[in-house]
């Protein structure tokens, strides 16, 4: 949802004359929406600005985003950061991986999500 929100925001700013660049990890969501400029880090969600406790990684990620802001020739420019999260890509298999969930676990997750929705609803409505 985060990636969709900032994608819509980037489009809105840009349509009103303000250039933007998104730094993000969810390539499909951002490109599906369609944005002007996007620096994609192939990292787990939550690391859009670089690797935790890694000054060099964060500085290089920002610098590349600034380069994208300066040099993108047209809308829908995506640049992929050369940084790797791990040598292998095993982490990519795990996000919302249904194959690891038993029917009981799925029922449990469903109940949890109903609770979360109710909490969000009451918060949204200020009750």
């Amino acid at each position: 949802m985060c990636h969709q929100t900032v994608s819509l925001a980037a489009r809105h700013l840009e349509a009103h004359g303000i250039p933007t660049v998104i730094m993000g990890c969810a390539k499909d969501i951002v490109e599906h929406c369609g944005v002007p400029r996007f620096l994609w880090s192939d990292f787990p969600l939550g690391n859009s600005a670089g690797r935790p406790f890694d000054f060099q990684s964060q500085a290089e990620t920002l610098e590349l985003a600034l380069r994208v802001l300066e040099t993108a020739p047209a809308a829908r420019t995506t640049v992929q950061s050369p940084q790797r999260w791990t040598d292998d890509a095993e982490w990519k298999k795990d996000f919302n991986d249904l194959s690891k969930l038993s029917p009981d676990k799925i029922a449990e997750r469903r109940k949890e999500f109903e609770v979360v929705k109710a909490v969000a609803k009451s918060k949204r409505e200020g009750t």
Partner: protein
């Protein structure tokens, strides 16, 4: 782990070493849980506004989806379970000169493979300040703006985006960096 494709000399990356298909995974996941498929926003065209001045003279804004820490709203620490009580539903702004305490327990970041222990991995405010000090960018906008992550496209597009635009214009920014968490 690379594999060698049959009848090819080239060594390819592992088959699963591609961009994570978040939309598909999310759709399948919630369908399995018994909820309707989510309709992700998409458009045929994308707007484009050229950068008109050198970055070394530009004022740069920052928009985040991270949430201000709310002491009364439960566990928002590193690795905390998804916490809907920590969500926010209105655009907020905080001065860039501060070191704001912004958390991401209210969003679906990858809790298995990262921990949200370092704010600088999801909010590049300190690195942007470094860029100002180095002369790489002219200045930072006076405020960081927070964008609510609402499932409803209507609320985002009709309420939140005009507000983010208004505040960015007030700040007199030349360009904006947007960072989802």
């Amino acid at each position: 782990m690379a594999t060698i494709a049959p009848s090819m000399k080239a060594v390819f990356a592992a088959e699963h070493d591609v961009p994570v298909p978040y939309m598909q995974r999310t759709r399948d996941y919630y369908l399995a849980l018994g909820f309707a498929a989510y309709r992700w926003a998409h458009f045929v065209d994308a707007p484009f506004a050229p950068l008109r001045i050198p970055l070394s003279q530009a004022r740069i804004g920052l928009i985040t989806t991270a949430a201000p820490y709310q002491p009364e709203a439960g566990d928002q620490g590193p690795g905390a379970p998804y916490n809907a009580a920590a969500k926010f539903y209105q655009v907020y702004s905080i001065p860039t000169e501060t070191e704001p305490d912004l958390r991401i327990s209210h969003v679906g970041y990858d809790r298995l493979h990262t921990s949200a222990k370092d704010i600088n991995s999801y909010l590049p405010l300190a690195r942007l300040k470094d860029a100002v000090a180095a002369g790489r960018i002219g200045s930072l906008a006076p405020r960081v703006h927070g964008a609510p992550t609402n499932r409803s496209h209507r609320v985002t597009m009709e309420t939140d985006l005009p507000e983010l635009l208004r505040r960015s214009q007030e700040d007199g920014v030349d360009a904006v960096v947007l960072v989802p968490s």
